[in-house]
Symmetry: D3
Subunit: 118 residues, 6 copies
């Protein structure tokens, strides 16, 4: 769990902490699971670097097209672990091929929002 907390702080920064805080009064155990499984287990595995992991996550969330808040957090996270804005745009444009132009467009507009907030 400590490993997960450190990974979450490193990757998602303040955006991740806000999610944890928002869970406190409704499902505090779910915050524990978020630390333990995605961050303590998966993101801490040595077999794939964090930059590659964020490429995978941004692509998946944009393709699924039903998780805009989490896509926002992970576009932030991608910038935190070394992806450039240009690379993130490339990933999102590529999703037009696999999930259609609407998913790509909606992902690009989430990125636009994140980039202009910085």
């Amino acid at each position: 769990m400590d490993r997960g907390k450190r990974a979450l702080a490193e990757i998602d920064g303040q955006a991740g902490q806000k999610v944890i805080d928002a869970l406190a009064d409704i499902a505090p155990d779910f915050a524990t699971y978020l630390f333990e499984f995605p961050f303590g287990d998966i993101y801490s595995r040595p077999g794939l670097d964090l930059r590659s992991r964020e490429i995978a996550t941004i692509a998946a969330l944009a393709a699924m097209g039903n998780a805009a808040p989490q896509l926002k957090v992970h576009i932030e996270a991608g910038l935190n672990v070394g992806l450039s804005k240009e690379e993130i745009i490339e990933i999102l444009m590529q999703m037009a091929v696999y999930a259609g132009f609407p998913s790509a467009l909606n992902g690009l507009f989430v990125a636009k929002e994140v980039f202009s907030d910085r």
Copy 2:
């Protein structure tokens, strides 16, 4: 279109050619679009390396969970452009976090099939 044909051959190899061949008697124009947009336009862009592009595609197809034949082609493609088997397994396991354990499991079993065919 020539750029797309070269990109398709480099990335997808024989698996890509089989898809093109299967379209010949039903929708030959769609083969042209496949050459032009995904491969001639998107995969040929310089802003993201092919290894990163295949990470994004494998993640998206596994997360969507409704495109097993294309996931198979792109696990092959990932190996062709330099991803290791271990890295592909990491990407697929990570999808449990974003799309659930069934999508990850079904992706892992597609990978198992590709790896054992080689």
Copy 3:
């Protein structure tokens, strides 16, 4: 249709009536279908109790992740037919396993909104 109207009133309460009212000027026949098929036919069947039916609906809507307004109505409905807040939280957390953490998180935040409105 009368059976459906009574079932809708019992299960969805005011939230269901608002949906019916909103359809009046655009698709009044669709309100009739809503009374007849989901409520007159399905929810009125004796083979499964209403509490179990709402567990199924909350789980499905959270897992699909593209129907937030309907998930809100059915979290209300779940409380109306006897599910506790804690049980609804359990159902939503469980969806992390089958549809990923984003679907579970987005469902939990819909529940948070419903619970604080009461």
Copy 4:
């Protein structure tokens, strides 16, 4: 219900009857609902011709990408109500724009199977 049975026979032909038969020993009431709501209610409405209704259904099923058996039935149904093979191919190719190339490809291969069975 009689109206639904006639509509199902006209639109889906033998393929629809096979689905009804397969339900007999597991969920016979569901066959009744299939007659009543989709066919007795929706497809019998005068506001949209059957050709247009089948365009909508083929597009939706191909885009969702998780209902191959039903897509097969409705490609048959499209031919039954006057769509040409070429028009069906156009609809399926167009889905590449909205749901990605994999959904379009998988839909085209379902059509190929239907066309060669005839």
Copy 5:
């Protein structure tokens, strides 16, 4: 590309131009792809009339349920190419059969918004 620009202007009108404008500072190449593939290639093909193409698109976007902004644009586009409001309502109601009542309801409320804006 010129053909695509003309098709986009004819079909999507001002709503399409707004999307193109919004891409200018984040992904201008994606606007080019939008002109070229969906509009220059697909919508310009002679094998299916524009009215039928918009039926397919409205159905697909409503069924997928994760692309409300694009559904709004294409309900406008449907009206532009000759669909009546009543026909668009029929298409959306029919999606209850294939994608469930929530997708149909959410589509109907997008249509209500478009119709009242006119």
Copy 6:
């Protein structure tokens, strides 16, 4: 992890063990995560009984429509924890309302296969 192994054995029985075995040569760590998070953490929580948990899982997997192997395992699991065949049929039919008739039909045919294998 021991708690998860016991829960998996109780709920999924042999079908769960087969999944674990199939992972051994490709992703053995993923079997560990399956024991730990879904079964050790979620299914072992006291706030919701196993019968209710399986209602939620069967509903979600049928609604998503892209996880037939897992739906099969959980229809078995539902029978193991006390759901009757009739109740499982009710859950699957209800999914027609929320995810469309194709998802319900495909779920019913998975159930038919499980019931006839017993």
